[in-house]
Symmetry: C2
Subunit: 517 residues, 2 copies
């Protein structure tokens, strides 16, 4: 019970100041903790169906092939035995090549943060929640929806740092479109490192951006590149240009990270009916083909590269073409994706996705459908865990808090129920007797402060008290909570010498980029 | 595909008129269907822990006993071997008595509606969703919260009839407090029968109310009492006065229904920290003891009585005493309850519960937490499936629609993914090729109209279109949908002779009740 990392029944939570009638600058929340999933996964396929999907995906790579838009990547694949089409971009590869390469990936690994307390185990039954990433817009209740900007970028990072249930930042929470493109990544990396001490994710893109991420990650942790290679701390996410095409800069950026010993995630963007077949089986076969082909490449670049199998199969509204998330199709595909990842002993990445335009009931139920299926599909990395709206077009400050509540709820849900003589409580029942109540029982008094999950956002007051308190909806309460949290934010400690070295690195790079352009 | 009862991928849904740009009086929804759960349940306990809970519950009944506040019930139990305390109300019974009796309950059974298309199988992997029941207040967005009344009662029944995903009405959706108490049940039963042709639930209470339910159910189905006994169509729900006390009129009403061959549900009201121990293990042991003791009584009254094991264990906010639902504790207890019900081969009843004061994000995520755990705990009867708010204090018209979306989503989620050569779609992928899209593919065109779930409530339009459409939240859209649905409502056909017989019965009973009071 004294291990601050252990998973429990909320026992180590601060008393909720909102409930005790006083106000506090820091809303009560669960402590940082590892989240372990000890429930059996929910399987949507039987073993034979998994093999059918597997076989179809291998036939896709063997018979149809996949385009790698990087000459380097094609060279590596051809040297390993793939054949190149006459068009010079499409590779066909047999299942032996793919499966041998994929088998070199570890089934679990550790990612190291600049604060070792925030190291993460990927795989091995762990669940790691990331905050929203890559949204072009941001939004809050006061100022509405606006193009992504650096102020929001930094504030969302501050929230990601403040929320203990957010294990890592999963990319730029919002794109800071007000920063110049050639040097934007330098500003962003510096903010990642200064404002948070959790794992961060650079984008697998060329132009020196991965090189800068590697250098800055090494400086931040006081390591040289060898040291960083031995204790990886960066991960990227490669989205394929489904169907059956992979972007060149993405492949090259990923290869650079793999060579530096860092981790890669490969997530085909298989929206059934648009970028993949309208049938889930077909979309999953395509997802599997694309994910495994790219993971095989990462393994050929550097055997043993920590690799995560990403699943993102959903459907579009066939009338409008609009993507949908948290749908019945999405939930089943998410569970199926977990079965496929397990087939290859690969850690599994999923998301907390929804397509709502406002953080209302729809946003909540679509997100929770996504989250339940991610958890029950045994995803170990849940990107976009907090703050994602509109199918990824918006990072919402209020949704960040709503999702933090969902993530905390999931973490507590996964904690075991203790069963022993004391918890079975026959003595308490004997003390209270038929028709009595347990409020004053010794058994209750010894446990009541820590017995149950205390919510971050949910309001359980009766209607009258709730109305007296201003009839605030979850959305309005979330608005108050993120503001409280930002007001109380303190940057994590950073050695001034490291900060100086980072600043010097950024200044140098800014100059050389300015000269090059 | 032509079986209207079969479970599928939404193929038999009407085209959604809201999406095709025209307005229609009847919002598109899934057709009536049986919902089957083919996923393995999620277990929170290992087998040994289940046995520990079982053993503790048996010790509760053996050592502590339980109060049955009905002389008839005590007589039956004592004749079966239970011992009566000196206080004359507390029974102690050994596990042999309880388990032998419980073993006489069927593991599944059929409930018959006046429309045979709406018969329900309870158990056997089926999931049956009921609408909200027993709320003292009702609410909608236009008129707010008000005491339950007969107009709302009837309108909620009309919605329950209109929503295909609602398999049964689960009690009075709201208490019609404007009707006189002595004859209220007659008005309610008549409305059940006239406004819906689905299964309905009388309250297990004395004073002739069960007798009236039996008589009117028989008339409605053109049966005599023997016929009704052979094809049960009524079910009740007995809540214990936890801890360890059961109300007399409830026991007597239940016994009367059992003698008439109808079905019973027994649901201990175990709010951990208030009516049961603050520990989940203790609350579940108490739930198990109370549920099995009352089910044993039902079996002693009439062996083979269709009996449902109800679980409702949740926690209270220990600061305020307010009940909470859809919490991590609730979800784990719900899954655990399923394990216990399966231990005794009993069908399992759960709920779609939440404690929110407004149908917002909190209402949605608490409800979906409840619903997922009910489904993954293999509940076969989900009471309060649509419309429940404020921990049961309100029946909400908008929440009815929000929940219908959740229930439909669950039903589609449980449909299998077809895996075969056609759905694996290699030909489609060959046709489209790398970097293409599937919108115009033959494979897509042949399937797009029925490929995916079309939502009742969710709005997947992009932000700009959504804003042009009035920026309506899920709550506001739900408001429009229930009004459309009520406007389009048509009562189900009822033989005029039966209607007349029911009216005559009610008139006769009204008179005799008036004379008696």
């Amino acid at each position: 019970m004294s291990d601050p990392e252990s998973q429990g029944s909320g026992a180590r939570r601060r008393r909720n100041p909102r409930q005790s009638g006083t106000r506090s600058a820091t809303p009560a929340q669960l402590p940082w903790r590892k989240v372990e999933n000890r429930y059996r996964p929910v399987d949507v396929f039987d073993d034979e169906q998994v093999e059918q999907i597997h076989d179809a995906s291998m036939r896709i790579l063997e018979e149809l092939g996949i385009e790698f838009l990087s000459p380097d990547a094609r060279d590596v694949m051809v040297r390993a035995g793939a054949t190149l089409d006459a068009d010079g971009v499409r590779l066909r590869m047999d299942r032996g090549l793919v499966l041998d390469a994929v088998a070199k990936a570890p089934s679990s690994f550790t990612l190291h943060a600049r604060n070792p307390a925030h190291d993460l185990v990927i795989g091995a039954g762990r669940i790691n929640f990331a905050c929203v990433a890559s949204a072009p817009n941001s939004s809050d209740l006061d100022c509405g929806r606006r193009p992504g900007n650096f102020i929001d970028f930094e504030n969302l990072l501050r929230l990601a740092q403040s929320l203990n249930i957010v294990h890592l930042t999963g990319g730029y929470p919002v794109e800071p479109t007000d920063l110049p493109v050639p040097t934007r990544h330098l500003d962003c990396y510096l903010s990642y490192i200064r404002l948070t001490d959790k794992i961060w994710r650079p984008y697998a893109l060329g132009g020196g951006r991965i090189e800068d991420a590697i250098e800055m990650a090494a400086i931040a942790r006081g390591l040289d590149r060898d040291g960083l290679q031995r204790s990886p701390g960066l991960l990227c996410n490669v989205n394929t240009n489904s169907p059956l095409r992979v972007d060149g800069p993405m492949l090259d950026g990923m290869a650079e990270l793999a060579r530096a010993g860092q981790a890669v995630t490969v997530t085909p963007f298989t929206l059934a009916g648009a970028m993949s077949p309208v049938t889930l089986a077909g979309s999953l076969a395509q997802q599997n083909a694309e994910a495994l082909a790219v993971i095989a490449y990462a393994q050929l670049v550097r055997p043993g590269t920590p690799s995560i199998y990403g699943g993102f199969t959903s459907n579009v509204d066939m009338k409008s073409g609009a993507p949908a998330f948290g749908t019945p199709e999405y939930a089943r595909a998410t569970l199926a994706g977990g079965q496929l990842a397990r087939r290859y002993n690969l850690p599994y990445r999923s998301s907390n996705a929804n397509a709502a335009n406002v953080p209302d009931a729809q946003a909540a139920y679509e997100s929770l459908m996504s989250l339940w299926s991610a958890v029950m599909g045994h995803a170990t990395l849940i990107l976009h865990g907090a703050g994602w709206m509109e199918g990824g077009l918006v990072a919402s400050f209020e949704k960040m808090i709503i999702d933090a509540e969902l993530l905390q709820t999931m973490a507590e849900f996964l904690a075991p129920i203790e069963v022993n003589e004391a918890t079975l409580a026959l003595d308490a029942l004997r003390e209270v007797g038929p028709g009595g109540h347990f409020f004053g029982a010794k058994h209750t008094l010894a446990r009541y402060e820590t017995a149950f999950y205390a919510p971050l956002l949910s309001d359980w007051r009766n209607f009258e008290s709730w109305r007296e308190g201003g009839s605030k909806s979850a959305l309005e309460r979330a608005n108050g909570i993120w503001k409280q949290m930002l007001a109380a934010y303190q940057p994590p400690p950073l050695d001034p010498a490291i900060d100086e070295a980072l600043e010097a690195y950024v200044a140098r790079r800014r100059e050389s980029i300015a000269q090059a352009t």
